[in-house]
Amino acid sequence: MGMIGKAGVPTASEILEPSSASLMRKRIFGHYGLMIGIGSLLVIFAIALLAPMLAPFDPLDQELSRKLIPPIWSGSAKATWVYPLGTDGLGRDYLSRLIYGSQISLLIGFSAMLISGVIGTTLGVLAGYFGGRVDMVVNFIITTRLSMPVVLVALAVVSLVGNSLWIVIWVLGLLIWDRFAVVVRSSTLQVRNLDYVAAAQAIGCSKMRIIFSEIMPNIMNNLIVVATVEMAHAIILEAALSFLGLGVQPPAPSWGLMISEGKGLMFFHPWLIGIPGAALFVLILAINLMGDGVRDVTAPENRN
């Protein structure tokens, strides 16, 4: 499949029956939003991975003698290429903090998304596949969860239990699974009534096999879209919690914390919140572009 004839010209049968893999490739690479989203996400991911090599300074290294240096584009006499993004109120290199901050955002985004994804998908598939009582119980759990305001509960829990990075991740993961559950439940309901599920049953497939090999692959596109939404959601919630002083603790270089620490100085040194804010904006935009792209590329009207 997808093989090109000797002269680099596709064979007749390929033109008549393009393989779904090559069609898919064409659709993915033709979708600019998806490409931009994936591209920026990969760049941010690479930055996070290579932070120790990329960052010019230790992000925690304070030096009051060099505090509040503005970024180079400010035109100020103090600006220097040594600190291209300037320094914060404690004299820490802002570029280094920004680079290390991507690690925290991505870690929180991925981990909270995974935790909530596992919880929500399990509940949703069970409710959608088994229906009846199971569905009633799951719906009750979902409604209970929806009746709790996420930020308030997160604040309460974090202020009671204390706040480390992993506590924040678990609290968020345990709170934001509702959209997974709702979307997976309704997609499962749709798929489970299709004839290929009945055929699998008639062949003698176990319930496990039906769920994992007939239903899951067919709700995967919806799942990926929700996963991107929830990843962005978790990153924003972390920033919000950190901004309120109940997320990641100083001196860790979380973007939310950077915004929080900069807010006292924002009238005279607006870049202190502008730079981490822009970074957060780019990351969330990239994730959302990727989610929308996945939805477009895998939409059923594109499939047949």
Binding site: D195, A198, A199, G204, N304
Partner: protein, 327 residues
């Protein structure tokens, strides 16, 4: 090896239907006392208007739905006691719509070998060869092995579905309108294929169809369903030459439409098909019957055995005739 391969006696299946948000659920008897013996090797057609319970009966016979009452036996054993995998080896479905009966995320090869995988059949190294033999048997070129369903035509898809159903050599194949979703030009190909495979693999068919021409062509016996019951069961030529039940007569009189999506053509029965939640009293066909009698709305007809089957109609109930004579 008994002569009777599938035997249903007084099988019922009731669905609870909600009539509205604030109203209590009401029972809908989708299959309401079906008694039927299917002989090994025969082709039994089930005909009837939309909603009379054909698909529900098929699902009951496949073990996909538990019956609410009655007894279904396959090869003499109660269906609900047959283990899942053994059941799969005995009876297989072929569905109407090959666009929804194949998992779009699986290749043709994966779809056809799945029954072997599930049965943990023999040695995995033979699976591909057996799938390719099956593909040859149903007329699929082997190059399609790695293709996905969205690259196949409707007819090819239906062949894949047939290959999947037959690869484990089941005894009984239940086809629920196997051609009505296909182009007219492809329909006869698939029907001929089913005919050929029956001879080759010694299959017993249960064919649900709206198309009386197909039924006359394929079936050895025909069961006519009305509101969840089999009102007439007879040999095919008997039924087409000398229908007994007034409903069968009405069906046969109706003009055949070439377009199967139109379903059973207008039966000139006047009164509309009754709401199955609220079936008429007595004989459920009486409001539409051309030969209705006084007691038809009071008393449900008994099953009267006739050659090759039965008929449920007061016209053929000897006892009732006598009672009427006495009165």
């Amino acid at each position: 090896m008994s002569e009777i391969i599938v035997s249903a006696s007084d099988v019922m299946r009731t669905f609870m239907i909600s009539a509205g948000v604030f109203r209590a659920k009401r029972p809908l008897h989708a299959v309401n006392g079906v008694t039927l013996d299917i002989r090994r090797g025969e082709v039994l057609a089930i005909v009837g208007e939309s909603g009379c319970g054909k698909t529900t009966l098929a699902k009951l016979l496949l073990g996909l739905l538990p019956p609410s009452g009655g007894d279904i036996r396959l090869d003499g054993r109660p269906v609900m006691t047959i283990p899942r995998l053994e059941m799969a080896g005995l009876v297989q479905p072929i569905f109407q719509d090959p666009y929804s009966s194949l998992n779009p995320r699986k290749s043709v090869g994966a779809i056809i070998t799945l029954p072997l995988v599930v049965q943990k059949d023999q040695d995995p190294s033979t699976w591909r060869r057996r799938a390719e033999e099956m593909m040859a048997l149903v007329g699929l070129p082997p190059r399609l092995y790695n293709n996905f369903p969205n690259q196949l035509s409707g007819g090819q898809r239906q062949r894949v579905a047939i290959a999947r159903a037959l690869i484990n050599r089941p005894e009984v194949v239940i086809c629920d309108e196997p051609t009505s979703a296909l182009d007219v030009s492809v329909q006869s190909q698939i029907l001929n294929l089913l005919q050929d495979l029956r001879g080759e693999l010694n299959l017993t068919y249960i064919i649900i169809s709206h198309n009386l021409a197909v039924v006359e062509h394929m079936a050895t016996r025909v069961a006519v369903m009305y509101l969840g019951r089999i009102v007439e069961l007879a040999e095919t030529d008997q039924l087409f030459k000398a229908p007994k039940h007034p409903y069968t007569m009405a069906l046969l009189e109706s003009v055949l439409t070439p377009d199967p999506s139109l379903g059973i053509p207008d039966t000139h029965l006047g009164a509309a098909y009754p709401n199955p939640v609220d079936p008429p009293s007595g004989c459920t066909f009486h409001p539409r019957c051309a030969q209705v009698m006084a007691h038809c709305s009071v008393q449900a007809p008994k099953r009267v055995p006739v050659e090759g089957g039965h008929v449920e109609c007061h016209l053929f109930d000897a006892n009732l005739g006598k009672e009427k004579a006495i009165a």
